[in-house]
Symmetry: C2
Subunit: 397 residues, 2 copies
């Protein structure tokens, strides 16, 4: 994996830790600390209010949007950064529903992240008028598509199992039936190759604190396809989405483009860390990252399966059918994960029995994978969580 | 103003600048730089994903909410921090409307900040069902209140003129007629004495980057009165507002309290700066700050009026009827403000002809006010904006 030695050097990783949770919160890019100090002192401290123009804070959400757009196959000028992923789900879904006024069904699957389903529930409650959220099993989505469906809303890569939907095929099928698509890229952006323009996706949303390493609570992004950009109603029609925010017009007139998806004042400090994180992404090609991820993930699966017969693979075995994390079922999963963390391998646990490990080539190599497998095997095979000193150690993580 | 020498020392203010724009973006609290470096390196860098519990990131929005609550007269446990002010307006308004299902009118005034009106327009578009946003002149609000009104939505202190509504009287009148109130405290929190509990306000929202000095794009806050806290529907029903977010329940069940107004993953980095800014507020009593503001503002008005006959006061003359900024009408206002900035007095301009100056006792004293008046007088009386070198200097601010 020497191809990524350059990017690995750009991250701060704590001594003695193998970090397999970059699918939940990416590690600190070294440059982000320095960039943040600069934005605090030289921009906020010295420029004060003039930073909005002088330091480019006002233009930042679109500028960063385009840098993310390159990683997900979006056309330039069609990605905007801001708010949280849940808020962006609401905007995309509301806009999509309004574009299909004669239909009432939102189709999703039970592998979707709960917040996406919750936001849909909240939107339906506000909309009234007989809207329905229909949730089917992931493998039943294709057959559940029909001319009743207004919007197909899916998370491309399942947050538990890493099972990846076929975005191009489902988008084509949905559109043939007259439905629109909203794709959540939370576990896709920076993880797998995404080609929004190629797939003809209508809307997409995602977060930046996982694979993109933007920092805890880093802002989200939204994509609106060119054909909808000038028509999509933002629902959350805030002043920065106005055609001319500083006219202080009493009536809302949406910006003619993706800027209409802006809502309130952007989080400048969080944006600064994200911008530094994207400098690392500028060094790589997403195809190479995805190929490296598949190689490392395959080695990880083979290693764990060979060393830990008690663990059962929860992710698809074929690398092309999964995202960039790997999950295993294990009845003692929670306790075992706590023990792994105490032993220096950080992954996470998802109920009821899933041990989840993120594979992130920007800062992990084959040696890390090999060492992680050894530690996991020791934890599982020696039942380390039963050791008397364990409870104390787990409590502090 | 020696009473505030201690707080003044806690801010970084650029050399040679008198900053009268803290009503738009507060200056950098010195401690925020160090706190941010710590959150970057020691928390994100070293704790990684475990920071959510170990560093208390998950509990931060409520903890900070209570510290803001003290400054606005809220009951403990009834303020939550997150998102942007526009998003919080949407939540408060949607919740209030749902509590008055038999009414269809949102009453507001033309002095409200445009984004609040835009968010109401967006919500109405989503709701359909004959809702109406009725906007009257600020002085006509009392007589426009009726039993048709579901929600009275006002910004307490006008962003242009600083005219302050009588929150207690309007809230009482609205409630007598069966309406609920949503108060926007953007220009009130940290500026004037606010007593939400005493006034019996139903909902309130505000931002933290102005008087509270939380930094550019710092998160907003929302207040829900105790009697509504367990009933108010959050509209934006995100996973962190769920009763048990980490159960990953497929169905939304709102938290029993103010936590239901949380939406997505909180902006940890922005929260860190805000938390450091609130340390300064812990040193003072809001009554003393408001009294000092009135004293400085009165001196400022008297000084400007005596020295610049061409400027006409746009703010109420009585200190008890205005917030903590002061505005003047001036036909050459835009050019004059650019010249003031070039000369070291930073205020701002609001169309069509308003020069706006924020008065913030935490870091401004009588000497600053006196020097500012001198500079403004020189700019206005000598028509400095006509000087040939001016255009160049103004262009860089």
């Amino acid at each position: 994996m020497s191809g990524f030695a350059d990017t690995r050097a750009r991250f701060h990783l704590p001594e003695g830790v193998i970090y397999l949770d970059g699918n939940s919160l990416g590690p600190l890019p070294r440059a982000a600390t320095e960039r943040m100090a600069r934005v605090m002192q030289d921009e906020w401290g010295e420029m004060l209010i003039t930073g909005w123009n002088k330091a480019g804070w006002m233009a930042q959400p679109g500028r960063i949007g385009d840098r993310i757009g390159r990683l997900i196959g979006a056309e330039p000028g069609h990605v905007m950064v801001g708010d949280t992923l849940s808020v962006k789900v609401y905007q995309a879904l509301a806009a999509a529903l309004e574009l299909r006024p004669d239909r009432r069904v939102i189709l999703s699957d039970s592998g979707n992240f709960p917040s996406d389903l919750y936001m849909a529930e909240g939107l339906i409650r506000t909309l009234g008028q007989g809207y329905e959220l229909r949730v089917v099993a992931p493998e039943k989505v294709a057959e559940a598509l029909s001319e009743e469906v207004a919007v197909l809303m899916l998370t491309e890569v399942d947050y538990r199992t890493a099972r990846q939907h076929d975005m191009a095929a489902l988008t084509a099928q949905a559109q043939e039936l007259g439905a629109l698509t909203v794709w959540d890229l939370a576990h896709s952006a920076g993880a797998v190759e995404v080609d929004l323009a190629g797939a003809g996706a209508d809307f997409a949303v995602g977060c930046t604190y996982k694979y993109l390493n933007g920092g805890p609570g880093a802002p989200a992004f939204i994509y609106v396809a060119p054909e909808h950009a000038a028509k999509a109603s933002p629902a959350l029609s805030g002043w920065l989405g106005h055609e001319a925010p500083f006219d202080f017009d009493p009536t809302y007139r949406p910006a003619p483009d993706i800027a209409r998806m802006r809502v309130g004042t952007p989080p400048v400090l969080g944006m600064a860390a994200l911008e530094a994180a994207l400098d690392v992404w500028d060094m790589v090609d997403m195809r190479e990252v995805a190929a490296a991820s598949r190689k490392l993930s395959t080695a990880f699966i083979e290693g764990v399966e060979a060393a830990c017969p008690a663990l059962r693979l929860a992710s698809p075995r074929r690398a092309t059918e999964r995202g960039s994390h790997v999950s295993f079922h294990f009845a003692h999963g929670y306790a075992a994960m706590q023990a792994c963390i105490a032993e220096g391998v950080i992954g996470d646990f998802r109920a009821p029995d899933i041990m989840r490990f993120g594979i992130t080539p920007l800062y992990l190599d084959e040696d890390d994978i090999e060492r992680a497998v050894e530690i996991i095997a020791r934890v599982v095979n020696d039942r380390l969580w039963d050791r008397p000193d364990y409870a104390t150690r787990a409590a502090v993580t």
